[in-house]
Subunit: 202 residues, 2 copies
């Protein structure tokens, strides 16, 4: 109120509302589940008006996707120690750790579930969530190809579908723990060639 | 009505009601989507009372699971031509064909989605749907191990999670077609060792 106080900064206020909305979304999703999540509930928890949320996001799925995106660690510089198996283990381990987190895995699973009803979700997930996180992994695989570490003729994009799919099986069907052993297994069968048929034998 | 007509056979009538219910479930799921599916709607379409359905199944998810189970081809004798890559391609191709079928893939995806809200679904899917279909594939992998085709120390159960997970990625996120090319790719990176790091090089 004093003459020295600066006027409210609208862009800063907007950013703090955005963060409050995203935090409220993840918290409510963890406490009550995705089915109970509503724009109204998020607005009440975040202390903003419903219209603020509707102005920025088309659906509760879209809010949750951005909340997960913010929670996911920034795409760190991808490790390149020269040991492909070791490097892939670190990266896939980070992804598995995210999915195994009880505050993050179930909302991600709920969003994949929502994508089966709302056709706008899957493209949004691929473009804004998975896509940017895959770029440095693809770059690491391509550098491995350039150095002759893996078959240079192999298309590497679908490898990411195989790796992530292996995690999805456990995330969505709870068929086993998303732990370091499983990550090591997946990396070993793909990049260590442990499942490869021994064609030269016999 | 004649004296020569045999009395109605209750077990046959029960079986025909069961088939009518399962057919109605898949048809409604394809026509209107899983979200609109209701026990009431299934009963009306199948020409049975709601109570008949409630007596046999605990939820609409359980009815759908049995309908999918019936639609899936019976576990055929698993091919064992001696060529592991060729045999796995046939098997994974069958599974991908099921998931790519517009009348079967979306209901399966809807059931995986439902499993994120109803914790009884995933164990039921693993036990009654996926489990029995995996048994012959596991047997093929174990015979490959006994013959030294693949690493005998490798745990083979998680291989099925990796293979099926690779298909789930495309089923659930629609990231690409569930076609023969993708099946061949997944089999090749796993069993052909195309992604394996060339450790002996250099």
């Amino acid at each position: 109120m004093g003459s020295s106080s600066s006027p409210p900064d609208p862009s800063r206020r907007r950013e703090s509302s955005r963060v409050a909305i995203l935090d409220a979304t993840l918290a409510l999703c963890q406490e009550e589940g995705y089915a109970s999540l509503s724009i109204e509930g998020i607005a009440a928890r975040a202390g903003v008006g419903k219209q603020t949320i509707y102005r920025w996001w088309p659906s509760k799925g879209a809010v949750l996707l951005e909340a997960l995106d913010r929670a996911a660690s920034e795409a760190a510089a991808f490790p390149d120690t020269g040991d492909l198996v070791a490097d892939m283990r670190v990266t896939l381990g980070d992804i598995a750790g995210f999915q195994a987190d009880p505050g993050l895995g179930p909302p991600l699973a709920a969003l994949i579930a929502e994508a089966q009803q709302d056709p706008s979700i899957a493209p949004m997930m691929l473009e804004t969530f998975f896509g940017p996180r895959r770029a440095p992994i693809l770059e690491r695989l391509r550098s491995a190809q350039r150095r002759g570490e893996i078959d240079p003729e192999l298309a590497v994009e679908p490898l990411l579908e195989v790796m992530l799919g292996a995690l999805f099986h456990r995330l969505l069907l709870r068929s086993g723990p998303l732990d370091g052993d499983y990550v090591a297994y997946v990396v070993e069968v793909l990049f260590g060639g442990r499942a490869a048929a021994r064609r030269t034998a016999g």
